[in-house]
Symmetry: C2
Subunit: 196 residues, 2 copies
């Protein structure tokens, strides 16, 4: 059997192993030796490829980041208008997380990963802000940024909710976000209060 591989091959192997081990044992509780053992090599190999434990984690997150933008922007492309775009993008986000159960947000433990995750949020925030800007060209950029951040934060929490309570469907989560983001609670509160 092969015992030596090219850089690219080993890097892919290590990345896969790292995602698996970090996911099942958590970042802090995972030793580099454990990852190395899973790959079938020794520790220094990991260091020649990724520099440090945080570097390895960073590579995992960076990979996930590209895949996320791919998934959401593709969904938004297929939409018929602003509301549909927000809805489809949101739904695609939840579906993305469904496809990679657990292995996505475990990363939030390390401080260097926190920064990388922040980059992912920035990526999604800019993307959403540009969608909103197209829907309402009169809004000033800062306000668009604010709205986009609200949506990103909302999605993150809804996703976490679904993780701990899988009975909440991706469609329901999307609907709850649309309730607030598009329609607003004002109308509902008014409904139950006084006639309109």
């Amino acid at each position: 059997m092969r015992t030596r591989f090219t850089r690219a091959e080993r890097e892919a192997q290590i990345l896969d192993a790292a995602v698996a081990v970090f996911t099942e044992r958590g970042y802090a509780n995972t030793s580099m030796d454990a990852v190395a053992e899973r790959v079938g090599v020794t520790k220094p190999v990991l260091y020649t490829h990724f520099g440090s434990k945080e570097g390895l984690l960073l590579a995992c997150v960076t990979q996930a980041r590209a895949q996320l933008l791919e998934a959401t922007s593709q969904a938004a492309m297929e939409a018929s208008g602003p509301e549909d775009m927000l809805r489809r993008g949101t739904l695609a986000f939840f579906r993305f997380l469904d496809d990679r159960r657990g292995s996505a947000l475990v990363y939030a433990e390390s401080s260097v990963t926190a920064e990388a995750i922040e980059d992912i949020r920035a990526q999604q925030t800019d993307f959403i802000a540009s969608l909103l800007g197209a829907a309402d060209p009169t809004a000033d950029p800062q306000r668009l940024q604010g709205w986009a951040r609200v949506i990103v934060g909302a999605c993150e929490r809804l996703a976490h909710w679904r993780k701990q309570d899988p009975s909440v469907t991706a469609e329901q989560a999307t609907e709850y976000l649309m309730d607030l983001a598009w329609q607003g609670l004002g109308a509902r509160a008014g409904d139950s209060g006084r006639a309109r």
Copy 2:
């Protein structure tokens, strides 16, 4: 000078020192010896009081959690109606973070603290869901939970935005959230699109 203190006194001293050191150096980069030195004792003292490094962090977060509920619920009490309640509560949240610059969300590094922070979110989510339930008694509980989570996530992201860009005021952040949560984007997108 006094060299020995009662349990309660030492615990308070250690908690203060831990908050300070964790805040300025980050959780992962802080050694227990560093905290102990700041207090003026040796490491095992910390362990007799808090059991482990994570236990110490947990105590810090638990303390902050109680203070947060105190601040937001007090603000909501003074409101005149549902919308004002949401607005005042949100504003109080941002002001709370202003008062403890940086020292609040640094905690999100450890996995055990992630759970504790999750408890804080649960606390605020339940609180907000109950407010929303009062505003719209016809909504079903799961939907209320969904809305509350949207708001909690939105606040968290807006707070983070303000931390990295202090020119965004607490009032602006609150306004952006109210734009979506209360009024909704539909009206605005419609404004720029066709007449209503």
